[in-house]
Amino acid sequence: MVAVGSKCRVCKEPAIIDLPRHNAHFCAEHFLELCRRQVVKAIEKFEMLTKDDRILVAVSGGKDSLAVWDLLIDLGYQADGLYIGLGIGEYSDTSAEFARAFAAQRDLHLIEVSLRDQYGYDVPTASKATKRVPCSACGISKRHLFDKAALDGGYTVLVTGHNLDDEAAVLFGNTLRWDVEYLARQLPVLPSRHGFPKKVKPLVRLTEREMAAWCIVRGIDYLVDECPMAVGNKHLAYKEALNAIEQQSPGSKAAFYLNFLENMAPLLVGRSAAATDSLQSCSSCGAPTTGDLCAFCRVVAKASAHEPVPVELVLGKGRGRR
């Protein structure tokens, strides 16, 4: 047993977690309370959701998406889940099981889409066939299918589990390149536009470590293992760099991202091409696009005509933009 363990800041009971950025320790109950408060704060500040919204949560079977789904239900929102089978070997098989078990145990509705069964390809094959890094082919597929499922199902908002670490890492990358176009788009709420649902990120005030802890405390089983395609990508390198700074100076990550939203993002309004680009309908699927065929339909055309490529063949090719 703990001889002189630290105590919860709120109730002085034994702590289960230390949060250096809050310079405090918390017991299970008050840690959960803190997470709920941070989510409520994000939802209110950025006008993300109302109790009347029909919410669709993009669910991967990992900690963040299951945590955000759990948090929204816990806070009294109505939310269904959407799982996309990406066909990334064993990783996809296992992640689907976690997503299904979570939904079944809580009597929640999970919609499933399979790239292989419904569109004739999977992420490794798309990567090879389109000569894109796996995360790029995967991202195009996921974004399109999230949008489609949200619109087809009559959902008013699409929720993703992006957390503070994800957003800070993307911001770090965009800043290293001074990519004004991407910086201008990096907001926790994207309003609905013609053909795109409203998209929100309620976890932007919570770190990955906090989200993993939420799952452990709430007894949520999630897939701990990494997607094999992520190995060596820049996104991970940025996260490690930011965590090295965070260790020296707790609170840096939150300040970097949240102060960007507060101080910098307002100066960038109107600098995103997405705001001005004129969109037309994809000639094949009707989705909004700047060209004739949308990016998704181009991926489908190439990838579904290609013979299936096993995961192992595209491993270590994850050094893309993110």
């Binding site: 977690i17 991967s60 995360c135 995967c138 990955e208 452990i216 701990v224 990494e226 965070e246």
Partner: protein, 65 residues
């Protein structure tokens, strides 16, 4: 104590007791990227781990875009 590590999954046996923070430091694992679970329960950095404990060190960083 028995220590389970993930990604890749492996198991270590470590002699003697020590705090969670010193165990992480010894294994060169960043505190911000890991959680430590002792006998099924989350424990903070200053918790003392003893020889009989079963400990999981769980990485919390995911690389997906």
């Amino acid at each position: 104590m028995k220590v389970l590590l993930r990604n890749p999954r492996r198991e270590l046996t470590i002699d003697g007791k020590r705090s969670v923070n010193s165990l992480l430091a010894e294994l060169q694992l960043a505190r911000e990227s890991h959680l430590v679970i002792r006998n099924g329960t989350l424990v903070p950095g200053d918790a003392e781990l003893t020889v009989d404990d079963v400990v999981e060190i769980r990485p919390v960083i995911s690389g997906g875009a």
